[in-house]
Symmetry: C2
Subunit: 227 residues, 2 copies
Protein backbone atom coordinates (compact mmCIF):
# COMPACT_ATOMS: atom_id res chain seq x y z
CA UNK A 1 0.00 0.00 0.00
CA UNK A 2 2.86 2.34 0.72
CA UNK A 3 6.37 1.51 -0.38
CA UNK A 4 7.92 4.89 0.28
CA UNK A 5 10.14 5.18 3.32
CA UNK A 6 8.31 5.96 6.54
CA UNK A 7 8.32 9.59 7.51
CA UNK A 8 9.81 8.50 10.78
CA UNK A 9 12.98 7.59 8.93
CA UNK A 10 13.54 11.16 7.95
CA UNK A 11 16.41 13.05 9.46
CA UNK A 12 15.24 15.60 11.91
CA UNK A 13 17.32 18.67 11.24
CA UNK A 14 18.87 20.07 8.09
CA UNK A 15 18.76 17.85 5.03
CA UNK A 16 15.43 16.07 4.84
CA UNK A 17 13.76 14.65 1.76
CA UNK A 18 10.22 15.44 0.79
CA UNK A 19 7.78 12.57 0.83
CA UNK A 20 4.19 13.80 0.79
CA UNK A 21 2.59 10.37 0.60
CA UNK A 22 4.46 9.09 3.60
CA UNK A 23 3.65 12.25 5.50
CA UNK A 24 -0.04 11.96 4.74
CA UNK A 25 -0.06 8.26 5.59
CA UNK A 26 1.73 8.91 8.84
CA UNK A 27 -0.67 11.65 9.84
CA UNK A 28 -3.65 9.45 9.06
CA UNK A 29 -2.26 6.53 10.97
CA UNK A 30 -1.70 8.54 14.12
CA UNK A 31 -4.93 10.51 13.72
CA UNK A 32 -6.92 7.28 13.46
CA UNK A 33 -5.56 6.16 16.80
CA UNK A 34 -6.12 9.54 18.34
CA UNK A 35 -9.72 10.02 17.25
CA UNK A 36 -10.63 6.39 17.94
CA UNK A 37 -9.26 6.79 21.44
CA UNK A 38 -10.48 10.24 22.40
CA UNK A 39 -13.28 11.08 19.99
CA UNK A 40 -13.53 14.07 17.72
CA UNK A 41 -13.64 16.77 20.36
CA UNK A 42 -11.29 14.86 22.64
CA UNK A 43 -8.66 14.23 19.98
CA UNK A 44 -5.86 16.78 19.94
CA UNK A 45 -4.16 18.05 16.83
CA UNK A 46 -1.05 18.85 18.83
CA UNK A 47 -0.96 15.29 20.13
CA UNK A 48 -1.20 13.92 16.61
CA UNK A 49 1.60 16.19 15.48
CA UNK A 50 3.78 15.16 18.38
CA UNK A 51 3.21 11.42 17.99
CA UNK A 52 3.71 11.55 14.26
CA UNK A 53 7.00 12.78 12.88
CA UNK A 54 5.61 15.86 11.23
CA UNK A 55 4.79 19.33 12.40
CA UNK A 56 1.29 20.53 13.07
CA UNK A 57 1.54 22.76 10.07
CA UNK A 58 1.52 19.71 7.80
CA UNK A 59 -1.81 18.52 9.13
CA UNK A 60 -3.44 21.76 8.11
CA UNK A 61 -1.54 21.78 4.85
CA UNK A 62 -2.90 18.40 3.81
CA UNK A 63 -6.23 18.15 5.60
CA UNK A 64 -7.37 21.73 5.99
CA UNK A 65 -8.71 21.53 9.51
CA UNK A 66 -9.61 19.16 12.28
CA UNK A 67 -12.87 18.09 10.73
CA UNK A 68 -11.22 17.44 7.39
CA UNK A 69 -8.73 15.18 9.07
CA UNK A 70 -11.46 13.40 10.95
CA UNK A 71 -13.40 12.82 7.76
CA UNK A 72 -10.33 11.38 6.05
CA UNK A 73 -9.76 9.07 8.98
CA UNK A 74 -13.35 7.90 8.74
CA UNK A 75 -13.08 7.19 5.04
CA UNK A 76 -9.82 5.37 5.59
CA UNK A 77 -11.12 2.87 8.11
CA UNK A 78 -14.28 2.35 6.12
CA UNK A 79 -12.28 1.51 3.04
CA UNK A 80 -10.10 -0.91 5.00
CA UNK A 81 -13.09 -2.81 6.29
CA UNK A 82 -14.79 -2.92 2.93
CA UNK A 83 -11.74 -4.57 1.44
CA UNK A 84 -12.06 -7.47 3.83
CA UNK A 85 -15.73 -7.76 2.90
CA UNK A 86 -15.14 -7.53 -0.81
CA UNK A 87 -12.62 -10.31 -1.05
CA UNK A 88 -15.17 -12.67 0.43
CA UNK A 89 -16.26 -15.09 -2.31
CA UNK A 90 -19.60 -16.53 -1.36
CA UNK A 91 -21.39 -17.05 -4.66
CA UNK A 92 -20.53 -20.69 -5.14
CA UNK A 93 -21.37 -21.87 -1.66
CA UNK A 94 -24.60 -23.47 -0.55
CA UNK A 95 -26.96 -20.76 0.77
CA UNK A 96 -26.76 -21.97 4.33
CA UNK A 97 -22.99 -22.29 4.19
CA UNK A 98 -22.75 -18.90 2.54
CA UNK A 99 -24.81 -17.22 5.22
CA UNK A 100 -22.78 -18.91 7.94
CA UNK A 101 -19.57 -17.69 6.39
CA UNK A 102 -20.84 -14.14 5.96
CA UNK A 103 -21.86 -14.10 9.59
CA UNK A 104 -18.67 -15.40 11.12
CA UNK A 105 -16.53 -13.34 8.78
CA UNK A 106 -18.31 -10.19 9.87
CA UNK A 107 -17.80 -11.20 13.48
CA UNK A 108 -14.08 -11.59 12.90
CA UNK A 109 -13.74 -8.47 10.78
CA UNK A 110 -15.38 -6.26 13.40
CA UNK A 111 -13.34 -7.81 16.17
CA UNK A 112 -10.17 -7.20 14.20
CA UNK A 113 -10.97 -3.53 13.56
CA UNK A 114 -11.82 -1.93 16.86
CA UNK A 115 -10.81 1.53 15.66
CA UNK A 116 -13.43 1.26 12.96
CA UNK A 117 -16.05 0.34 15.53
CA UNK A 118 -15.05 3.15 17.85
CA UNK A 119 -15.11 5.69 15.08
CA UNK A 120 -18.55 4.59 13.94
CA UNK A 121 -19.71 4.83 17.54
CA UNK A 122 -18.34 8.34 17.67
CA UNK A 123 -20.09 9.16 14.42
CA UNK A 124 -23.36 8.05 15.94
CA UNK A 125 -22.88 10.41 18.82
CA UNK A 126 -22.47 13.15 16.25
CA UNK A 127 -25.62 11.93 14.46
CA UNK A 128 -23.54 10.65 11.57
CA UNK A 129 -23.09 14.13 10.18
CA UNK A 130 -19.66 13.54 8.72
CA UNK A 131 -20.49 10.10 7.44
CA UNK A 132 -23.62 11.43 5.77
CA UNK A 133 -21.65 14.10 4.00
CA UNK A 134 -19.02 11.72 2.69
CA UNK A 135 -19.75 10.60 -0.87
CA UNK A 136 -16.95 8.07 -0.64
CA UNK A 137 -18.65 6.09 2.08
CA UNK A 138 -22.16 6.15 0.66
CA UNK A 139 -21.48 3.52 -1.94
CA UNK A 140 -19.37 1.18 0.16
CA UNK A 141 -22.33 -0.43 1.83
CA UNK A 142 -24.01 -1.83 -1.22
CA UNK A 143 -21.74 -4.84 -1.59
CA UNK A 144 -22.65 -6.51 1.66
CA UNK A 145 -26.36 -6.09 1.03
CA UNK A 146 -25.98 -7.40 -2.50
CA UNK A 147 -24.26 -10.50 -1.24
CA UNK A 148 -26.92 -11.15 1.36
CA UNK A 149 -29.66 -10.58 -1.21
CA UNK A 150 -28.09 -13.14 -3.49
CA UNK A 151 -27.84 -15.66 -0.68
CA UNK A 152 -31.43 -15.02 0.34
CA UNK A 153 -32.70 -15.46 -3.19
CA UNK A 154 -30.88 -18.71 -3.66
CA UNK A 155 -31.92 -19.95 -0.25
CA UNK A 156 -35.57 -19.28 -0.91
CA UNK A 157 -35.40 -20.73 -4.42
CA UNK A 158 -33.96 -23.90 -2.94
CA UNK A 159 -36.76 -24.01 -0.40
CA UNK A 160 -34.24 -23.79 2.43
CA UNK A 161 -34.89 -20.25 3.71
CA UNK A 162 -38.09 -18.93 5.18
CA UNK A 163 -40.10 -16.64 2.96
CA UNK A 164 -39.65 -13.57 5.12
CA UNK A 165 -35.84 -13.73 5.05
CA UNK A 166 -34.73 -10.20 4.23
CA UNK A 167 -31.19 -9.07 3.38
CA UNK A 168 -31.38 -5.73 5.14
CA UNK A 169 -32.85 -7.25 8.28
CA UNK A 170 -30.22 -9.97 8.20
CA UNK A 171 -27.44 -7.47 7.90
CA UNK A 172 -28.92 -5.47 10.72
CA UNK A 173 -29.05 -8.56 12.90
CA UNK A 174 -25.54 -9.66 12.16
CA UNK A 175 -24.14 -6.18 12.45
CA UNK A 176 -25.88 -5.55 15.76
CA UNK A 177 -24.22 -8.56 17.35
CA UNK A 178 -20.81 -8.03 15.89
CA UNK A 179 -20.80 -4.32 16.57
CA UNK A 180 -22.01 -4.57 20.14
CA UNK A 181 -19.48 -7.29 20.80
CA UNK A 182 -16.72 -4.79 20.23
CA UNK A 183 -18.29 -1.44 21.01
CA UNK A 184 -19.71 -2.35 24.40
CA UNK A 185 -16.99 -4.62 25.63
CA UNK A 186 -15.79 -2.11 28.20
CA UNK A 187 -19.11 -1.42 29.91
CA UNK A 188 -20.35 -4.97 29.60
CA UNK A 189 -17.21 -6.37 31.18
CA UNK A 190 -17.34 -3.74 33.89
CA UNK A 191 -20.89 -4.74 34.73
CA UNK A 192 -20.90 -8.49 34.24
CA UNK A 193 -17.29 -9.65 34.16
CA UNK A 194 -15.30 -10.54 31.10
CA UNK A 195 -16.22 -14.19 30.63
CA UNK A 196 -17.84 -13.45 27.28
CA UNK A 197 -14.77 -11.59 26.08
CA UNK A 198 -12.21 -14.18 27.03
CA UNK A 199 -10.81 -16.20 24.16
CA UNK A 200 -13.18 -19.08 24.78
CA UNK A 201 -16.03 -16.71 25.39
CA UNK A 202 -15.54 -15.16 21.98
CA UNK A 203 -15.42 -18.53 20.30
CA UNK A 204 -18.68 -19.44 21.96
CA UNK A 205 -20.37 -16.16 21.09
CA UNK A 206 -19.25 -16.50 17.51
CA UNK A 207 -20.82 -19.94 17.26
CA UNK A 208 -23.92 -18.74 19.07
CA UNK A 209 -24.30 -15.91 16.63
CA UNK A 210 -24.03 -18.23 13.69
CA UNK A 211 -26.65 -20.53 15.16
CA UNK A 212 -28.97 -17.65 15.89
CA UNK A 213 -28.69 -16.17 12.42
CA UNK A 214 -29.09 -19.48 10.65
CA UNK A 215 -31.84 -20.55 13.02
CA UNK A 216 -33.78 -17.41 12.23
CA UNK A 217 -34.06 -18.02 8.48
CA UNK A 218 -33.06 -21.59 7.66
CA UNK A 219 -36.03 -23.92 7.80
CA UNK A 220 -35.51 -26.72 10.30
CA UNK A 221 -32.03 -25.57 11.31
CA UNK A 222 -30.52 -27.41 14.26
CA UNK A 223 -27.21 -26.38 15.80
CA UNK A 224 -24.85 -29.36 15.58
CA UNK A 225 -23.27 -28.98 18.95
CA UNK A 226 -23.98 -26.14 21.29
CA UNK A 227 -21.77 -25.50 24.27
Amino acid sequence: MDTSPKASDKLRKGNWKQDPDAVKADILRVATEEFATYGLSGGRIDAIAKRSTVSKRMIYYYFGNKEGLYKSVLEGVYAALRESEETLKVGDLEPTEALALLTTTTFDAYAANPEFIRLIAIENIHNAEYLSRSEVIQKLNKTIIDKLADVCDRGKAAGQFRAFADPLELHWTISAFCFYNVSNQATFSASFGDTLHSEQGQVRLRRRLRDIVLGSVVIGYRPENSD
Copy 2:
Protein backbone atom coordinates in the same frame (compact mmCIF):
# COMPACT_ATOMS: atom_id res chain seq x y z
CA MET B 1 -39.09 12.11 42.68
CA ASP B 2 -38.85 15.85 43.13
CA THR B 3 -41.74 17.87 44.42
CA SER B 4 -39.89 21.11 45.04
CA PRO B 5 -40.54 23.94 42.60
CA LYS B 6 -38.35 23.94 39.50
CA ALA B 7 -35.34 26.16 39.75
CA SER B 8 -36.54 27.81 36.59
CA ASP B 9 -39.39 29.25 38.59
CA LYS B 10 -37.03 31.26 40.71
CA LEU B 11 -36.98 34.99 40.32
CA ARG B 12 -33.79 36.13 38.74
CA LYS B 13 -32.73 39.20 40.65
CA GLY B 14 -33.02 40.17 44.30
CA ASN B 15 -35.45 38.06 46.27
CA TRP B 16 -34.82 34.44 45.36
CA LYS B 17 -35.56 31.42 47.49
CA GLN B 18 -32.96 28.81 48.21
CA ASP B 19 -33.77 25.41 46.82
CA PRO B 20 -30.68 23.25 46.60
CA ASP B 21 -32.51 20.13 45.47
CA ALA B 22 -34.16 21.88 42.59
CA VAL B 23 -30.89 23.47 41.61
CA LYS B 24 -29.11 20.15 41.61
CA ALA B 25 -31.91 18.50 39.68
CA ASP B 26 -31.91 21.29 37.14
CA ILE B 27 -28.17 21.06 36.61
CA LEU B 28 -28.39 17.29 36.19
CA ARG B 29 -31.23 17.53 33.74
CA VAL B 30 -29.41 19.96 31.49
CA ALA B 31 -26.07 18.21 31.92
CA THR B 32 -27.60 14.91 30.87
CA GLU B 33 -28.74 16.46 27.62
CA GLU B 34 -25.43 18.19 27.10
CA PHE B 35 -23.20 15.18 27.68
CA ALA B 36 -25.49 12.82 25.77
CA THR B 37 -25.38 15.19 22.84
CA TYR B 38 -21.74 16.23 22.77
CA GLY B 39 -19.87 13.66 24.84
CA LEU B 40 -17.68 14.28 27.84
CA SER B 41 -14.99 16.34 26.17
CA GLY B 42 -17.49 17.96 23.82
CA GLY B 43 -19.93 18.97 26.55
CA ARG B 44 -19.46 22.50 27.84
CA ILE B 45 -19.89 23.59 31.43
CA ASP B 46 -20.69 27.10 30.28
CA ALA B 47 -23.41 25.77 28.00
CA ILE B 48 -24.94 23.82 30.86
CA ALA B 49 -24.86 26.89 33.08
CA LYS B 50 -26.46 29.02 30.40
CA ARG B 51 -29.23 26.55 29.57
CA SER B 52 -30.01 25.88 33.19
CA THR B 53 -31.14 28.71 35.41
CA VAL B 54 -28.12 28.70 37.67
CA SER B 55 -24.67 30.15 37.46
CA LYS B 56 -21.60 28.16 36.57
CA ARG B 57 -20.26 28.40 40.06
CA MET B 58 -23.15 26.25 41.29
CA ILE B 59 -22.05 23.36 39.17
CA TYR B 60 -18.67 23.35 40.87
CA TYR B 61 -20.31 23.95 44.22
CA TYR B 62 -22.43 20.82 43.97
CA PHE B 63 -20.45 18.53 41.68
CA GLY B 64 -16.84 19.53 42.18
CA ASN B 65 -15.70 19.43 38.61
CA LYS B 66 -16.67 18.35 35.14
CA GLU B 67 -15.94 14.70 35.74
CA GLY B 68 -17.93 14.69 38.95
CA LEU B 69 -20.88 16.10 37.10
CA TYR B 70 -20.49 13.55 34.33
CA LYS B 71 -20.38 10.72 36.84
CA SER B 72 -23.54 11.96 38.52
CA VAL B 73 -25.26 12.15 35.17
CA LEU B 74 -24.23 8.58 34.44
CA GLU B 75 -25.57 7.33 37.74
CA GLY B 76 -28.79 9.21 37.19
CA VAL B 77 -29.65 7.65 33.85
CA TYR B 78 -28.63 4.22 35.08
CA ALA B 79 -30.95 4.51 38.02
CA ALA B 80 -33.80 5.64 35.81
CA LEU B 81 -33.45 2.65 33.55
CA ARG B 82 -33.12 0.22 36.39
CA GLU B 83 -36.43 1.39 37.77
CA SER B 84 -38.21 0.38 34.59
CA GLU B 85 -36.53 -3.03 34.79
CA GLU B 86 -37.28 -3.52 38.44
CA THR B 87 -40.99 -2.95 38.25
CA LEU B 88 -41.21 -5.77 35.73
CA LYS B 89 -42.99 -8.70 37.40
CA VAL B 90 -42.12 -11.82 35.52
CA GLY B 91 -42.04 -14.54 38.15
CA ASP B 92 -45.56 -15.82 37.64
CA LEU B 93 -45.50 -16.03 33.87
CA GLU B 94 -44.78 -19.12 31.82
CA PRO B 95 -41.05 -19.28 31.05
CA THR B 96 -41.55 -18.64 27.34
CA GLU B 97 -43.96 -15.81 28.01
CA ALA B 98 -41.63 -14.38 30.62
CA LEU B 99 -38.67 -14.39 28.27
CA ALA B 100 -40.74 -12.79 25.53
CA LEU B 101 -41.82 -10.05 27.89
CA LEU B 102 -38.30 -9.42 29.16
CA THR B 103 -37.11 -9.12 25.60
CA THR B 104 -39.70 -6.74 24.28
CA THR B 105 -39.63 -4.68 27.44
CA THR B 106 -35.88 -4.19 27.08
CA PHE B 107 -36.42 -3.19 23.48
CA ASP B 108 -38.92 -0.57 24.51
CA ALA B 109 -36.93 0.64 27.49
CA TYR B 110 -33.79 1.23 25.45
CA ALA B 111 -35.74 2.93 22.69
CA ALA B 112 -37.36 5.19 25.25
CA ASN B 113 -34.05 6.19 26.85
CA PRO B 114 -31.74 7.33 24.08
CA GLU B 115 -29.69 9.52 26.43
CA PHE B 116 -28.88 6.45 28.45
CA ILE B 117 -27.73 4.65 25.33
CA ARG B 118 -25.65 7.57 24.17
CA LEU B 119 -24.00 7.97 27.53
CA ILE B 120 -23.14 4.28 27.69
CA ALA B 121 -21.69 4.56 24.20
CA ILE B 122 -19.61 7.48 25.39
CA GLU B 123 -18.50 5.49 28.39
CA ASN B 124 -17.28 2.74 26.11
CA ILE B 125 -15.18 5.22 24.20
CA HIS B 126 -13.61 6.12 27.52
CA ASN B 127 -13.11 2.44 28.31
CA ALA B 128 -15.79 2.58 30.97
CA GLU B 129 -13.48 4.29 33.39
CA TYR B 130 -16.13 6.34 35.14
CA LEU B 131 -18.65 3.53 35.17
CA SER B 132 -16.09 1.17 36.64
CA ARG B 133 -15.34 3.61 39.41
CA SER B 134 -18.96 4.10 40.36
CA GLU B 135 -20.00 1.88 43.24
CA VAL B 136 -23.60 2.93 42.72
CA ILE B 137 -23.80 1.37 39.30
CA GLN B 138 -22.02 -1.85 40.06
CA LYS B 139 -24.95 -3.42 41.82
CA LEU B 140 -27.69 -2.26 39.49
CA ASN B 141 -27.03 -4.96 36.94
CA LYS B 142 -27.71 -7.96 39.11
CA THR B 143 -31.49 -7.75 38.93
CA ILE B 144 -31.81 -8.33 35.22
CA ILE B 145 -29.47 -11.32 35.33
CA ASP B 146 -31.31 -12.75 38.30
CA LYS B 147 -34.61 -12.52 36.46
CA LEU B 148 -33.20 -14.21 33.41
CA ALA B 149 -31.61 -16.91 35.53
CA ASP B 150 -34.94 -17.64 37.16
CA VAL B 151 -36.67 -17.86 33.80
CA CYS B 152 -33.95 -20.14 32.45
CA ASP B 153 -34.15 -22.45 35.42
CA ARG B 154 -37.89 -22.75 35.17
CA GLY B 155 -37.75 -23.19 31.42
CA LYS B 156 -35.25 -26.01 31.66
CA ALA B 157 -37.10 -27.64 34.54
CA ALA B 158 -40.24 -27.66 32.43
CA GLY B 159 -38.33 -29.20 29.53
CA GLN B 160 -39.11 -26.18 27.36
CA PHE B 161 -35.68 -24.54 27.13
CA ARG B 162 -32.55 -26.02 25.62
CA ALA B 163 -29.93 -27.15 28.10
CA PHE B 164 -27.35 -24.60 27.09
CA ALA B 165 -29.64 -21.60 27.71
CA ASP B 166 -27.54 -19.17 29.72
CA PRO B 167 -28.77 -16.00 31.45
CA LEU B 168 -25.67 -13.96 30.77
CA GLU B 169 -25.56 -14.94 27.13
CA LEU B 170 -29.25 -14.22 26.81
CA HIS B 171 -28.87 -10.80 28.31
CA TRP B 172 -25.93 -10.12 26.01
CA THR B 173 -28.00 -11.13 23.00
CA ILE B 174 -31.01 -9.08 23.94
CA SER B 175 -28.93 -6.10 24.94
CA ALA B 176 -26.89 -6.19 21.75
CA PHE B 177 -29.98 -5.90 19.60
CA CYS B 178 -31.74 -3.32 21.67
CA PHE B 179 -28.64 -1.22 22.17
CA TYR B 180 -27.57 -1.26 18.55
CA ASN B 181 -31.09 -0.39 17.50
CA VAL B 182 -30.73 2.95 19.26
CA SER B 183 -27.01 3.60 19.28
CA ASN B 184 -26.40 3.02 15.59
CA GLN B 185 -29.56 4.44 14.20
CA ALA B 186 -27.80 7.45 12.72
CA THR B 187 -25.09 5.64 10.78
CA PHE B 188 -27.31 2.74 9.81
CA SER B 189 -29.95 5.05 8.42
CA ALA B 190 -27.31 7.10 6.64
CA SER B 191 -25.98 3.97 4.99
CA PHE B 192 -29.08 1.93 4.31
CA GLY B 193 -32.07 4.22 4.61
CA ASP B 194 -34.43 4.46 7.54
CA THR B 195 -36.94 1.73 6.73
CA LEU B 196 -35.96 -0.20 9.83
CA HIS B 197 -36.39 2.84 12.00
CA SER B 198 -39.77 3.91 10.77
CA GLU B 199 -42.66 3.18 13.08
CA GLN B 200 -43.57 -0.03 11.25
CA GLY B 201 -39.93 -0.96 10.92
CA GLN B 202 -39.50 -0.80 14.66
CA VAL B 203 -42.59 -2.90 15.24
CA ARG B 204 -41.21 -5.50 12.87
CA LEU B 205 -37.75 -5.48 14.42
CA ARG B 206 -39.23 -5.84 17.85
CA ARG B 207 -41.18 -8.90 16.79
CA ARG B 208 -38.17 -10.27 14.95
CA LEU B 209 -36.03 -9.89 18.03
CA ARG B 210 -38.54 -11.72 20.15
CA ASP B 211 -38.69 -14.56 17.65
CA ILE B 212 -34.93 -14.75 17.45
CA VAL B 213 -34.46 -14.83 21.20
CA LEU B 214 -37.20 -17.36 21.80
CA GLY B 215 -36.11 -19.40 18.79
CA SER B 216 -32.61 -19.64 20.18
CA VAL B 217 -33.57 -21.28 23.46
CA VAL B 218 -37.15 -22.54 23.31
CA ILE B 219 -37.33 -26.08 21.97
CA GLY B 220 -39.49 -26.29 18.89
CA TYR B 221 -40.36 -22.61 18.86
CA ARG B 222 -42.23 -21.42 15.79
CA PRO B 223 -43.01 -17.75 15.19
CA GLU B 224 -46.79 -17.41 14.91
CA ASN B 225 -46.86 -14.97 12.09
CA SER B 226 -43.79 -13.37 10.63
CA ASP B 227 -44.39 -10.58 8.19
